[in-house]
Structures are given as structure tokens and as C-alpha cells.
């Protein structure tokens, strides 16, 4: 008869008392989630590896204080995001000194209205995108587009639109005004939307 696998609660208890095997078994199912969360914020391999190592050490250190009010994966994920934000603060970012990406809008006349509006394509997001969303191609397209964003803009998009943080919380964490957060968010959204035209537009790209 095979022995039943230990529950997550048992693994947490054993890992908190220093059992490294239990820690490995506890973390391994969530490693992809933890790694991806950090990588989205930091955007490069070396920093992601350092932050993941810090996060795993923090998770182990704080396990005795984990009270089980949320799932371990959610709690661990928050630790990972904090670790990524700390890492970001501690590094001098060349990207931050780059100019903001241009706002990629259409062509307007001298009064600021669309030129030839009858010929402009209609966004058909709901109908088109969800059928295509599982395609690896779209994942790769979005990943490339996120990589193209300056670090200062990508982090705002990740925290707001992927992690559902409030604008004020992002502003506080990044030491920006809420207006600057919204401005960076808007530029990021417009740029990403432009990159995804082939996926979300009805008709031709």
C-alpha cells in the first residue's frame, strides 16, 4: 500500500521547522506562478533569478507566521511580488531614464478628429479575441510587446492590469503621483493594443 502524499498544511508545518524536502514539495507546484510574477515586473532573467532566490528565502523565513487565512500560493505570490519590487528599487534602471514611448494613436485632422472615419477599422475585441486567446502566438506577441515597454511603464501595466492593484497603491509603492501612474498606464495600454491589432481587429490587420 502506498503512503498518502502529505497535505499542504503538513508540508507548511514541516517546512517551517526546517525540513528542506518539505519546503521543496510545498513550493514546487507554484514555482511557475512565482517565477512568472517576478519576471513580469523585472523583465530580465538575471534580476528575476536574484529576486526569486530572495523570495524563496523570505517565504521560508516567514512560514511560521503564515496563518492560513489565504491559500499558500496567494500568500507566496505576494511575497514574490514584494521581492521583485524591492529588487527594482535597489537597481539603477537605465530604462527609467529613457523617454516615454509615444502615444500610438491614429491620424487626426487639424481639429483633432479622425481623418476618413468611414475607412477606419472597428475594434471587435469581444468577438475576435477570446477565440484566439489560447494561441501561443498571442502570448508571444504580448510578451514581446511588454518587453518593448520601458521598465517604468511595464511595471505600472503589470501592477494595474494584471495584478489589479489600485492606482493609489501603485503610486505609493513606486513613489509617483497617481496622475503619472495613469499617464504611464494609458501609454502602455495604447501601445499594447496597437501591437495586438492583428488579434483584436475585425477584418484586416
Amino acid at each position: 500500500m502506498t503512503k498518502a502524499s502529505p497535505s499542504e498544511a503538513e508540508l507548511i508545518q514541516r517546512a517551517a521547522t526546517g525540513d528542506s524536502d518539505a519546503f521543496g514539495a510545498l513550493v514546487q507546484p507554484h514555482l511557475a506562478l512565482f517565477h512568472n510574477g517576478i519576471h513580469r515586473i523585472l523583465g530580465n532573467v538575471a534580476d528575476t533569478q536574484d529576486a526569486l532566490q530572495d523570495a524563496l528565502m523570505s517565504i521560508h523565513r516567514d512560514l511560521p507566521r503564515f496563518e492560513g487565512r489565504s491559500r499558500f500560493s496567494s500568500w507566496g505570490y505576494k511575497v514574490c511580488l514584494n521581492s521583485a519590487l524591492m529588487m527594482r528599487r535597489s537597481r539603477v534602471r537605465i530604462h527609467d531614464m529613457e523617454r516615454a514611448p509615444p502615444l500610438v494613436l491614429g491620424t487626426f485632422d487639424e481639429r483633432g478628429h479622425h481623418m476618413e472615419p468611414d475607412h477606419l477599422p472597428e475594434w471587435q475585441v469581444e468577438a475576435q479575441a477570446h477565440g484566439l486567446v489560447e494561441q501561443q502566438e498571442m502570448r508571444e506577441c504580448l510578451t514581446r510587446a511588454l518587453d518593448e515597454l520601458p521598465d517604468s511603464h511595464r511595471i505600472v501595466f503589470v501592477l494595474k492590469d494584471l495584478e489589479d492593484w489600485e492606482t493609489d497603491d501603485i503610486a505609493r509603492h513606486l513613489q509617483l503621483t497617481p496622475g503619472t501612474v495613469r499617464q504611464r498606464l494609458h501609454r502602455s495600454r495604447v501601445l499594447l493594443q496597437a501591437r495586438l491589432r492583428t488579434f483584436v481587429l475585425g477584418g484586416r490587420p
Binding site: 511557475a32 526569486l52 524563496l56 483633432g112 472597428e122 475594434w123 498571442m138 496622475g179 493594443q193 495586438l196
Partner: protein, 85 residues
């Protein structure tokens, strides 16, 4: 400046509009513009759909990269040393 904002104004301010961060008169102007301009209304739908789309498309991959497993093994090795000492 006219009461009704242009397409360029609207498309520049949609995130602030969505968060209710604009003055009331500007919000009303954009609201009216969106009622009459199909292109800007479609542009806004695209922006609104983006987070949901990105969340699904960028959902966690099933497998972590090899380097992540190596890092976990390194951390476990450190913990083992601490346990032994």
C-alpha cells in the same frame, strides 16, 4: 477650447476618464463624444478588453523554467545546511 473634446483628446484621456479622474465638465464632454463617435467608442472597448485579454494570454505557464528549479534546489541546500548546523 470647445465643450466637446476632439477624437485626439478623447483617445489621450480615456484611462483618466475610466478612473473618474477628470473634472465633471470634461467627463460629460467625453461621454457625449463617445455616444456619437464609433471609432473612439471602439477604441475604448479595445482598451477595456485589454487587461482581461492579457491576463488570459499571459496566465502562468504549466512549467517553470529550468533555472527556477535550480534556484529552488540552491535554497533547499542552504536550508539543509542551516538545519544541520
Amino acid at each position: 477650447m470647445t465643450f466637446l473634446p476632439s477624437c485626439h483628446d478623447v483617445q489621450t484621456e480615456l484611462t483618466e476618464y475610466g478612473e473618474g479622474a477628470l473634472p465633471l465638465s470634461r467627463r460629460i464632454g467625453i461621454w457625449i463624444h463617445l455616444r456619437f463617435c464609433k471609432v473612439c467608442a471602439g477604441f475604448m472597448r479595445g482598451l477595456r478588453a485589454l487587461p482581461g485579454l492579457a491576463k488570459i494570454a499571459l496566465g502562468p505557464q504549466e512549467e517553470a523554467p529550468e533555472t527556477a528549479f535550480k534556484i529552488l534546489a540552491e535554497v533547499q541546500a542552504v536550508l539543509l545546511k542551516q538545519e544541520e548546523s
